[in-house]
Symmetry: C2
Subunit: 423 residues, 2 copies
């Protein structure tokens, strides 16, 4: 039996393979990795060319009103088929042994939930066997195959999930996510000039950052990487990808972090709405009934807060995704009598601003600093939500940018000083 | 065990699924067949959208100089993936149970000769099982899968071959080839106004017509249909395909023909060149050596004729595909000394005009009528080639059209009278 070589997974998104010149660049990046890690085998995962998936969806919708999900998946899966074959051709042309694999060939087994399938397993032995002679495997991201041989797709963030699943199956030393940004920033660099490229964050922090608004990775893939302890690296396909020393952001198990800053990143989301139910009965069974009804309508509730007016009356506030907010409001208004409430109001003009940091586990006083920083800018906080490693506040949307800057100034720009002070 | 229902195969080419409105039309044609033959199961084979394959080839060539054949096949196979899923969606939307199948799902097993694979078998039991509940199977044409799970394509005429192979495997009652012409004509309708749509021809005639220049079907698919006794029907997707009574051309086993006209069709080819070797030795071993050398250079020889000058000298003429004619000429000129010849000349300005008819088996005097008809127009015949059911003559290219018309007038327009005369 041959001893298994270590495996590195590289993933390139849609903009990274957006045209032929970029496919050539990607081949060069693969070549660089191969040269830098001659003792490792490489698995390369690619998405469809940027815009291609949207084009296919539009094509289907011009043909039928409601595309059948099984057939939609067959249609969508053609997108990656183009990019894997082009990249494999290009690698072969520059002298690198390579082979494209579609999901059924790579045996990426999924559930049968078309357009939103979950990966159940990967035949890693088969992949290892195919790599034995040093062949670079170019695998179609975003797609899978059911037990019956039907083609599935994985939904949003699907190609990242493919990459992480393959990395987990192959016990990869790292999974590089090449994309159109340099890495993960301490906050939105379009909003705050001083936003810093983060060198290392923990999986858990990244999970919070992703779910709180950092768009660089989808939560599902971060969760997968965390569960299987796979280091993820987010870095740019374009900025100096062929020169050494471009490191991007490493997302690693917490134990591998040297420093644990209190706040790693400041994020925001503008896609939630707040619904306030005034003067309702504090009866817990009534509140839980309300939440059941909303769940039945597939309304996801994010923040919840309750303010006691008197012994017989509370004001309840929740936030929900803005796209469901009118459905939620209607549902709640219809329940006003049975909730014993006075009425319900909606505020769609809000922003959720969050600070995230693994160091919050070990430091107190974060809430006080958040309040002080926002008070200095005269920003009212409508709701608050906290977890072990994050704190979110709801503010009027027009103050979003000011709030993000204030919190970034407070925590990130004075990060080193603060850590020393606290130590 | 369920008694197997009869199966009908329908095939739609690239122009028939060229855009979304045509995909809808194709779905309606499938619905019409289903209504007309409620006791039959349907298999529908589709090509990629017209132009799509060329676009993919151009994409590959813009990426690499010499695309790897295995990867080229993965790329090309994405074309039919789009059309099968769109058509299946559309069928479902109009209430017809349908399911798309790619080559690996339909288990269309081929050899591993990428870009030009040969079908080795189809898992007909599996197809029958999938059709048990009346589901229409929408199968990707042109593609197959090797034993190792690699994707292959079948080369020119590939989708027709898929359709005929599935028809053979399912022992179909007929295989309908829907295309952009009304059927097979007695000659090129653009050249001869009186060209007739043929109602019924034999497989063997169609094989000759196809190889002699009628472009509606590729010889490989006709050969397959002949071998497995599958009636083929060539008809238009556009002209009245939704009304009853559009019959196109039926291509059937010879035994099913009621009438056996002497000449069914007149065809022509302009893509050959003639090479004449003057005054060479009549030594048969030298001639056979010449043919061996040309075969090694992959030069296909079509017509051959030999004219004796005297006991020590013959003039040998051959025709070869024009695209190889300069290679052939060069090769032959280099062999002039060893052939004991005086020299070699080329004539690229020729046309091969052929008459084809199963009735030639039973009638004599066809050659005399061909000579007489061409002589009347003062057309010289440079070479002649005959088989049991066809006769080809080589004429100067400028006389091609006149020759085709003269032969069509001679045989087709007076067909009935001639048949009676001969009977």
């Amino acid at each position: 039996m041959v001893t298994q070589k270590p495996v590195i997974v590289l993933k390139f998104g849609g903009t990274s393979v957006g045209d032929v010149s970029r496919v050539k660049l990607v081949a060069d990046i693969v070549a660089r990795h191969r040269k830098e890690s001659p003792d490792s085998n490489l698995i390369v995962v690619v998405s469809a060319m940027a815009g291609e998936t949207n084009k296919l969806v539009a094509l289907a919708k011009s043909c039928v009103e409601r595309p059948n999900p099984r057939e939609m998946d067959v249609l969508l899966a053609s997108g990656e088929q183009v990019t894997v074959s082009l990249l494999a051709m290009r690698l072969l042309e520059i002298g690198i042994p390579a082979k494209s694999l579609l999901a059924p060939q790579a045996r990426i087994a999924t559930t049968a939930e078309h357009t939103n399938a979950l990966i159940e397993g990967v035949d890693s032995e088969r992949l290892n066997r195919m790599m034995e002679d040093g062949t670079v495997l170019v695998v179609a991201g975003f797609q899978g195959v059911t037990e019956d041989g039907d083609i599935t797709t994985l939904g949003r963030g699907g190609s990242d999930i493919t990459a992480v699943a393959l990395a987990a199956a192959a016990n990869a030393t790292a999974c590089y996510i090449y994309t159109d940004v340099q890495g993960v920033f301490s906050t939105d660099p379009r909003m705050v000039k001083g936003a810093k490229l983060l060198e290392r964050v923990s999986h858990e922090e990244m999970l919070e950052l992703a779910s709180l608004g950092a768009k660089v990775l989808h939560t599902r893939s971060v969760y997968f990487a965390m569960r299987y302890n796979i280091p993820l690296v987010v870095l740019s396909t374009f900025a100096g990808a062929l020169e050494p020393g471009q490191n991007g952001t490493w997302i690693v198990p917490e134990g591998e972090l040297m420093e644990k800053p209190i706040v790693t990143g400041v994020t925001y989301r503008l896609d939630e709405a707040r619904i306030m139910i005034q003067g309702m009965s504090p009866d817990i069974s009534k509140i839980s009934n309300l939440f059941d009804v909303l769940a039945e309508k597939s309304v996801f509730i994010d923040m919840i807060s309750q303010e006691t007016v008197n012994a017989n009356s509370v004001n309840l506030s929740i936030t929900v995704p803005d796209e469901n907010s009118l459905t939620a409001l209607e549902t709640i208004r219809a329940m006003v009598p049975e909730l014993g409430a006075e009425g319900a109001m909606i505020d769609r003009d809000i922003a959720k601003v969050s600070v995230v940091g693994i160091g919050m586990r070990y430091h107190t006083g974060v809430a006080a600093r958040v309040f002080r920083a926002l008070a200095k800018e005269r920003i009212d906080i409508a709701m608050i939500n906290t977890s072990e490693i994050k704190m979110s506040v709801l503010v009027p949307r027009k103050y979003c940018e000011v709030a993000v800057r204030a919190l970034h100034d407070e925590f990130i720009d004075f990060d080193v000083a603060t850590s020393e002070e606290a130590a």
